[in-house]
Subunit: 417 residues, 2 copies
C-alpha cells in the first residue's frame, strides 16, 4: 500500500516508516522539523543523535535499499497539503504531525494557543484535502489514551452503550483531558468523527498509550535510530526515570506516583499502526482503537526502572517531587483494548526487556545525557499560567521569554540537526 | 456589578448591554465588527438597520442616560485582551465574541479553520487573561444546545451520573455536534471546564437554545434595535420563515422538518444571562445551564409562522427543500433545564406573541428584505467540501472565491455600518 506519514521525522513516524518499508509498503512523508526546533527551544536534545533528514533518507537507501519520498512543509499551509496529496494519492495517511507534549502546551498562553490551533488546523486541512483528492483513503489519526482522563468506570474503545433515565443509546465516551495538548487531541477526535460522517471517509482514531523503547527490528544501525527525549517537557516519565538512573540522580515519580496509564512498546505500537493500515474501515466508518498493552502506575515504572538499573550496577533512590500537574494521584483505571486483538495484534515485547535495552543503548550516549541533566526536573507547573520565564532562565536563553511558536503558515526556514 | 461583554455589537450582546444597564449594572464592551463584515461577505445584511457603533453609544447616552465603555479590537490579540481586563477588572465577563454561524463554518476549508481556530483562540486568551488579571471574576461563556446533538436519551445539564459495567461516575455528557461551528463550541466547553479546574476560576457554560425575536423592554427606540439576520448563513430557521412569509415566498423547513431544537425568546435569554451573572458560581466551579424554554420541531415553527402570517393577511405555503445539512431528520429530543429555574428564572414571552411582534417590526423593513430575497435559499451543503464558488456567484462577488476570513491578530480596519 501507499502510505503517507505526516511527522515522519518524529519519534514514532520514523520507525513506522522503516517498519512499513520492511513489510513491502510504499512510504512517503511530510515534516516541518518543528519538534527538533522546539526541543532546542526548551534547552534540550534527543539522547540519540538524530541525523539531518537527507542523511536519514540516505541511510534508508543504503541499508534497506528503499526510497522515502519526502515533502518538507507545514500542514498549516493548505496548498502544501493539497500538493502532497495530489502527487501521492495515498491509500492511507498516518497523521502524526502534531505538537505532542502536554508540558509544552502548559508553558504559557502562547504555547497553549499554538498547540490547539496548530493541531486542529493540521487535522482539518488533512480532512479537507483527503475529501478533495483521495476520499477513499484511510486516515489513521494519532490520538492519546489521555483523552479519556481517569473516570471511575471502565474505559471502552471510543463509544459505549448506556442506559439513562430508561432509554438507551450508543454514545461517544466522555473525554476529560488533562492538558491543553490532550484537549487538542479530543478536539481532533471530534473533527475526524464528524468529517467521516458527513463525507463518508474512512478513519481510525488511535487512542495511543504511552510508548516506551527506541528499538524496532528494522533499526539495525545507529544511522537508523529514532529520537529519544528525556527532558521534563518532551520526555515521558519512563524516559526520565531511565536517564535519572544512568546519571546517578534519584528517580522522580511526580506526587504520590499512583497515577496509572496505559503503556505499549515502540515495536508493538508500530505493529498496531500497520494492522490498522492493512485493515481499513468501511467508507463512512469512524473507529477507535485503545492502543496499549498494560496499565502501570508511575510508581511501578519507577520500581521496575530501579530493579533493572541494579542489574547494570546502578543504585538509584526514588524521590517524589510535588506533582506539577493537576491530576488525580489515586484513581480507578481499567481501559478496554479488544479491537486490535481482533485484527491479530499480539504483544511481542515486555517492559523489563525493553528497559534493559534502553539502559544498554543510553549508556552509550551518556555524554549527551550529562550535558542536559538540568532539564530533567519539572519547571512547568499546571497551576501557573506563565512558566515561560523560569523555563527560559533554565534553558540559558534570553530572559525576555521563549521564542513564540511558529505562526501558522510559516514553516521553519533552516534544517535543524 | 461591572460586566464586560465581548461581542457587544452582536445580536444578543447589544440587548444584553441594554438589559444590564437598565438593571443598574455597569457595562463595558469589546467588538471587532467582524460579524457586520461577514454578513456582507455572503451578500446579506441585517433586516433592521444597525447604526454605526458611535451612534449606538450616543443613543444609550441620550435615551438611557448611561455610558458604555468600549474597546475596539479582536480577542485574537492577547495584549489587547490583557489591556482591556487590566483597565476594566470586571466582576463578570460574558463571552459572546465568536463566529456563530454553522453554515458559515461549512462554506469551505478556510471558513472551517477560521471558525475553530478563532473561537478557540479567543476563549483561551480570555481564560489566561482572567487568570492573570481578574481570577475572581465570573466567566459566562456562550455555548449552544447544539453541542449535544440529538442523542436517543434525555440530555442533562452538562453532566450525568451513569452506571457502566457495575461502577458509577459523574461524567460530562457526550457531545455530538453537527457542524464545525458547533464543534468549536464543544472545544470551548472543554477548555473552560479544564481552566476552571486547574486555576480555580468561576464559570458558567451556557448551552444556549435558538433565540427568537428582536424586542426587549429596553429597546424603546429604533436607534436601540438589535440586528436581525435572515439569510441562509446568518439567520435562524424561524427568522427565514417570517421573512419568507412577508416576501410572499413559501416557508421552507429543510428536509422532513421533524428536527427538534430548544428555543427561547430574546428577552428571556437576557433574563437568563443576567441571573447567571447575578448568581456567580463558587471558585473552581464549572456549571452548565441548558438555556431554553421549549423544544419545537421545525415543522411546528413553520406551521406557527403560517398561522400568524394569516393574521397579517399573508397566505404562505410550506415547501420542503432537501436538507442541506447532515443531521437526523427524525429523532428523540428531551433536554433538561432546571438550573436556571432554581435561580428564579421564569419564562415571560410566548412564541406566538413574539411572532406577531416580528411580523409587525419586519414589515416596516420590507424594502431591506426585498433587496436580499435571493439569500434565503440554502447554498451551503454540508456534504460539499467547497461551497465558496456558488456562494460568491450568488453574492455577486468576484468569482475567485470569497475573501478569506480575517487572519488572527488582524482586526478589520474600517468601521462597517
Amino acid at each position: 500500500m501507499k502510505v503517507l506519514i505526516t511527522g515522519i521525522d518524529g519519534y514514532s513516524g520514523w520507525p513506522l516508516a522503516l517498519h512499513l518499508l520492511a513489510r513491502g509498503h510504499e512510504v512517503a512523508g511530510i515534516d516541518s522539523f518543528v519538534t527538533r526546533r522546539r526541543v532546542r527551544e526548551v534547552g534540550s536534545w534527543s539522547a540519540t543523535p538524530i541525523p539531518a533528514w537527507p542523511k536519514r533518507q540516505e541511510a534508508v537507501r543504503r541499508l534497506l535499499g528503499r526510497e522515502i519520498r519526502f515533502y518538507r512543509g507545514d500542514l498549516a499551509r493548505y496548498p502544501f497539503v493539497e500538493e502532497v496529496l495530489r502527487t501521492e494519492r495515498p491509500d492511507a495517511v498516518v497523521h502524526l504531525a502534531e505538537q505532542r507534549s502536554a508540558p509544552y502546551s502548559m508553558i504559557d498562553v502562547h504555547h497553549a494557543v499554538a498547540t490547539q490551533a496548530e493541531n486542529l488546523t493540521g487535522t482539518l486541512h488533512l480532512l479537507y484535502a483527503m475529501r478533495e483528492l483521495c476520499p477513499e483513503a484511510h486516515l489513521v489519526k494519532m490520538g492519546t489514551m489521555g483523552e479519556y482522563g481517569t473516570p471511575n468506570v471502565d474505559i471502552p474503545e471510543g463509544f459505549f452503550e448506556i442506559e439513562y433515565r430508561g432509554r438507551s443509546d450508543r454514545l461517544p465516551f466522555p473525554r476529560q483531558a488533562g492538558s491543553w495538548y490532550h484537549w487538542s487531541k479530543v478536539f481532533d477526535s471530534g473533527d475526524v468523527m464528524f468529517a467521516t460522517r458527513i463525507w463518508g471517509l474512512r478513519s481510525t482514531d488511535v487512542m495511543q498509550g504511552v510508548i516506551y523503547g527506541i528499538r524496532t527490528p528494522e533499526i539495525t544501525d545507529d544511522a537508523l535510530l529514532t529520537r529519544f527525549d528525556f527532558d521534563e517537557i518532551w520526555g515521558t516519565a519512563l524516559n526520565r526515570f531511565v536517564v535519572e538512573a544512568i546519571l546517578g540522580m534519584p528517580i522522580t515519580p511526580y506526587g504520590k506516583g499512583l497515577q496509572q496509564r496505559g503503556f505499549i512498546a515502540l515495536e508493538d505500537s508500530m505493529q498496531s499502526l500497520r494492522l490498522a493500515i492493512e485493515h481499513p474501515p468501511a467508507a463512512g466508518e469512524y473507529r477507535v482503537f485503545n492502543q496499549f498493552d498494560a496499565a502501570y502506575s508511575i510508581n511501578e515504572l519507577a520500581e521496575r526502572t530501579r530493579a533493572i538499573a541494579e542489574e547494570f550496577g546502578l543504585h538509584p533512590t526514588i524521590e517524589h517531587p510535588p506533582d506539577p500537574r493537576v491530576e488525580a494521584e489515586e484513581h480507578y483505571y481499567r481501559p478496554v483494548h479488544d479491537h486490535l486483538t481482533a485484527l491479530g495484534y499480539r504483544a511481542t515485547r515486555e517492559l523489563n526487556e525493553v528497559l534493559r535495552e534502553l539502559f544498554r543503548d543510553l549508556r552509550r550516549f551518556r555524554r549527551r545525557l550529562e550535558a542536559k541533566r538540568h532539564v530533567l526536573l519539572p519547571v512547568v507547573q499546571w497551576r501557573n499560567a506563565d512558566n515561560a520565564a523560569t523555563l527560559t532562565a533554565r534553558a540559558g536563553g534570553p530572559s525576555a521569554g521563549p521564542a513564540p511558536p511558529p505562526v501558522a503558515g510559516t514553516p521553519p526556514t533552516r534544517t535543524e540537526a
